[in-house]
Symmetry: D2
Subunit: 377 residues, 4 copies
């Protein structure tokens, strides 16, 4: 670990630092010259960046990624605008010094899906994320002092309401955007009953968004602190699965709360395969199911297709999102920041130099979600 | 069996006959007075009526239904129009003597779903089907000389193009309408690749309909005669599962036929739970799956929700249909009767007096689908 | 006028009274026996009923309707449930004594549109409204002590939250349901900018509903009291057309409020044909226009179809609604009654005996909207 | 005019020629070096290119465009693939020598609309079209021997079925793609009645496409040859407006053809503002109107918004298309080339050297649509 002694940079070239991973739990601070942006690209200074589950996976070595820069969610300050960049990706005027949220993946613009405007399916969206920092422009991921926004990468100016609390905005990138994309595909009518299976980050954001669209929300959870959060994030009802131990009991409870009918919409964000079968029981005949928590193949359940058919249930899935959803999520945060305690979703702040401590405590679940602040900013 | 000797009716009252079931394989012809229709109801003479799988179930005793009249698909001739009936359910003028196709179920108009116009979910749609013929108006189902169309039951005049071949029209009621309803919910864009899992009645109709909407169709089947039918019903490609024995091999073949991409739409009409998993393999990323063959709960498979999510696949189901879909299906038949050999879907015709022979030969699979013609017509 | 002396009814038959119109400004109270309900019908006592613009038209003689009972919006108390009525039209259990909101029109269930579940287009929806009270069951409209809900007429139990303030619920029937139906057809995405042209009853309800769906709302109005109301009903911005006198100036203001882009959605509820052209200017390229205020044909404007095409604008219209929208509107009111001052939409209450005074003062615009309470309740 | 004497090019650099316009009816052949493609770009040889109405406008001087290369629709042969180009825009493998159809506009990928995948609204889509050929890469438009496909420009390989008749494919670019985009937005259900107002290029393509989606088609036209074409392109009925002279008479005829109901969908491709009002009369209550012929603002009609509302008609517009629609159009042509006489849409072929004659005869309407073939190919 070399951060403390990265003292000098050449007079003519500004240097920055980044967190490099060379194998399981093998991190290193490395120093590179801050690049000049290509046309349509933007160079930024990182203001804050989060520790998300995916970084834990890579750090632990559960994930093949290595020999690269870490991080994906961040809020950055524009330091160098590439030629032709006059607005952010939503058409809002942009200047040096502005705070922005970059989408954590790119759109290649040349694969079959990008060519059809279906950016959420881009086949090359992680093209830059796994690159070695030896390759220019070095700052491919945001755990560092700087971050490079590529020409085809979307980024959005922070709404004014969020300028004082940029840490909130960092949270929009992953969970909130994913949830908003999924729920918009599923469709929420006013006064729909939406049952959310699990009150983790995805579940809390889903509860708040469904609430703001006019739904009645039911959250299923079994941990005290998460139940409390669910209530703070707009749950009209919480079903505690310590009290309602079986899937049948929980389904009965949902039916009791809906005049015996069942929920209009269920959202699987528990991330356990068994939740899929339970969701079908929670829904009414003709209900809509958003399955988005089970993102890793390889775990099977006993499933009865005939039951799905008999109940006329449709299933929607969501695994990535269209990049402009981040813009909409930032607006959502700006509009609702006084209604929901988003700040509680981030419960620890570390100087970037203490990244290993942040990872270890996250690993031990001593904290929910940590944010990292580069020391020199 | 008493049909031959149902000789007399009172002078002033016309009598009709119907096929009554009193237990497994226990049929009887019974005679009742032909009723006069209530307002909005219609009394008809049955022109032809089919032997469908559901009648076989009831006859065998696999189904709790008993002490009732048999039959559900029929073409009838209007003999007595109830007060206020001037048009069919599509607003077409109707007169005595017209040939009509009645929807085989009713809409109660008073359940929560009917009240919302979601007739395909009516909670009382089989209210009359299981009644004893002792209850007025006796002719609750169409295996008989007469059939009573209730005030809230939809019925449609046969298009002129089908008047010479009413047997074709009888087929619209069940398979074609169900398939059209399902595919319209799923959505077929022009030039979508649609893979149909199974070339039974549902599958052949699905192939024809997808073809007429401009899709490229692939049918998976393993029986020579059905493969031939699939080709006659518009399949652009057939995958013979005797040649491609594993699900993987069939998925490979579908990918080979779609430039490595996979199908846009898959339609499960095989009616075996395992087909559900195979369908997911046949689809492209972002594909749409219509699951409609597995209509009976109780059979489970090993299913991996994470795979569904990773491929961003949405699932639509269909188990009943909105009654006006029958009107659309009749139009479809009228428009395409020279393109597809619908007549081959019905390969045997019996006088109604020979109903037991028709059932026994259907049971032994000596024929695909029989039609019954009441003797006196 | 005979209300005060309607003293006796036969011992065995309860009598009720109703407001009969025999020609322009020629009202009369008439007395009829309270009917017993047919199966599926409901007899009610009127709790309150509103004076709406359409009653003023009929009273003045601007409308051909005469020789009939007046009124259309009402809240009633169930006094006699017809055979087979165990729930309201949403499936909620119903008993004598319950407060209900009946939909002001019926669905005939037999026209082509009802047969397709498109109840909002029923061809016979006013079949009963114009009948003479001489025809049984007499109480065809709700200005009276009783009101008859026909077998095919939808009615909904008042949500518990509204039981204390049934006058609020009366307002749901007309303006709110119409607006909700229109906006749901148009579609409102979270954070859409919705501009509402006019802050009358439709406009205020549209503003509240758009607000609850997460839109940013702009209202255009020119009357002080209505501007104040718009703000109370959730308008984020009001454009006063006394300050922005030309359509161009108002369009400039909308563009200024939307970073130069224009509104995503515009809602025409001004009821003047010229507003249609202005709406097109207010919208962004690709915007959606809900035209619902101009309900009477016969007034033309100079319109440029090429401008509509060049701006890629789609137009949706709404003139009636599906009856179940009333249920959703009641839920909306129940959910939001503490957020918006619905009580201000009704600013006068009269005993039903004073109906003529209520009409005269409404005519003179001394009040916005009056509610009538039958004297004996 | 200098084409014949463009004899020499330097040994090391291939030269090409293009049609340059310097003012009204002032054309010139100019010679430039054939460029080498940037990464993601493609250099092509023009195989054929059409004379479309827009070229006539520019040539006449009705359009501000000047000092640029002419042309927009073309079929080209790939001569030089830029780095990274391995597939066309649909993901199909591409090689030198392949025939391709380039979309005639580009997507900038950086405006607000491109960033949202709404490519049909790109704000810079004609960025290159009006450039002087003095600016590299010179061949900005396809009237020439070569054409440069920009990195962000979509292009599609010709389906095998069209390789023998590339002239057909040239037609897909403009009319067919525009019509398909519009009709897909409007939605055509199976058996919808679609009335097409005008049998020009847009109208004939609309008729064929609606026909292939299963619609019943009615075309309104008044010129013998166009009526004949309409029948060849799948019109089920033609209304000759020389026989049905008034809009009312034509509306009566449409109602007569639809059991008194009116059309489900109307398509305005007449390009005269008055057609908009007529279309409303042709539609049924609740019909859908696609307005796409009036592309130039500035001409107004007397329009009655109340009539639109009373008939519950929704209006969709279409003025550009998403670039991948060209791919779908090519597939449509490939599938239906034996059913409709597309070749009749192009009734004259000229060597590119005779471009002025082609323009003059097009101007005099001696021909419908000419195609130009560069002499040296």
């Amino acid at each position: 670990m070399s951060l403390q002694d990265t003292s000098t940079s050449e007079e003519t070239t500004e240097m920055g630092e980044l967190v490099y991973i060379d194998g399981p739990k093998d991190l290193e601070f490395r120093e590179y010259p801050v690049p000049s942006p290509e046309p349509h690209a933007v160079v930024t200074e990182v203001v804050r960046t989060n520790v998300c589950g995916s970084e834990l996976h890579v750090w632990r070595g559960d994930h093949p990624l290595s020999d690269c820069v870490l991080g994906h969610e961040a809020i950055c300050r524009v330091s160098d605008l590439g030629e032709k960049v006059t607005t952010d990706s939503a058409g809002q005027p942009i200047s040096e010094g502005d705070l922005v949220a970059p989408v954590y993946f790119q759109t290649c613009q040349h694969c079959e899906f990008c060519r059809r405007g279906e950016f959420y399916r881009c086949e090359n969206d992680y093209e830059h994320a796994g690159k070695s920092p030896e390759i220019w422009p070095h700052f491919h991921a945001p755990w560092g002092t700087h971050y490079y926004i590529y020409p085809n990468q979307h980024f959005y100016k922070l709404p004014e309401e969020l300028l004082e609390t940029p840490s909130l905005a960092a949270a929009a990138n992953c969970a909130l955007s994913q949830v908003k994309f999924g729920l918009d595909r599923t469709g929420i009518d006013y006064n729909d009953t939406v049952v959310v299976q699990g009150a983790g980050g995805l579940g809390l954001n889903a509860t708040a968004y469904a609430n703001e669209r006019g739904a009645e929300t039911i959250v299923i959870e079994g941990v005290d602190q998460r139940i409390e959060r669910a209530q703070e994030f707009g749950a009209d009802h919480v079903i505690d699965f310590r009290e309602h131990e079986s899937a049948d009991a929980r389904a009965d409870k949902v039916h009791a709360l809906t005049d015996g009918v069942g929920a209009d919409v269920a959202v699987e964000v528990a991330g356990v395969p068994e939740a899929f079968n339970e969701g079908i029981e929670l829904l009414r005949t003709g209900g809509r199911y958003l399955e988005m928590g089970n993102v890793r193949p390889g775990h099977t359940i006993d499933f009865d297709p005939g039951k799905l058919v008999r109940k006329s249930i449709d299933v929607t899935t969501a695994v990535e999102y269209d990049p402009w959803v981040l813009y909409e999520s930032l607006e959502f945060l700006a509009n609702t920041k006084d209604e929901y305690p988003y700040e509680k979703l981030l419960d620890a702040e570390y100087d970037l130099v203490d990244v290993e401590e942040a990872l270890e405590r996250s690993e031990q679940r001593d904290l929910t979600r940590a944010t990292l602040v580069p020391h020199s900013h």
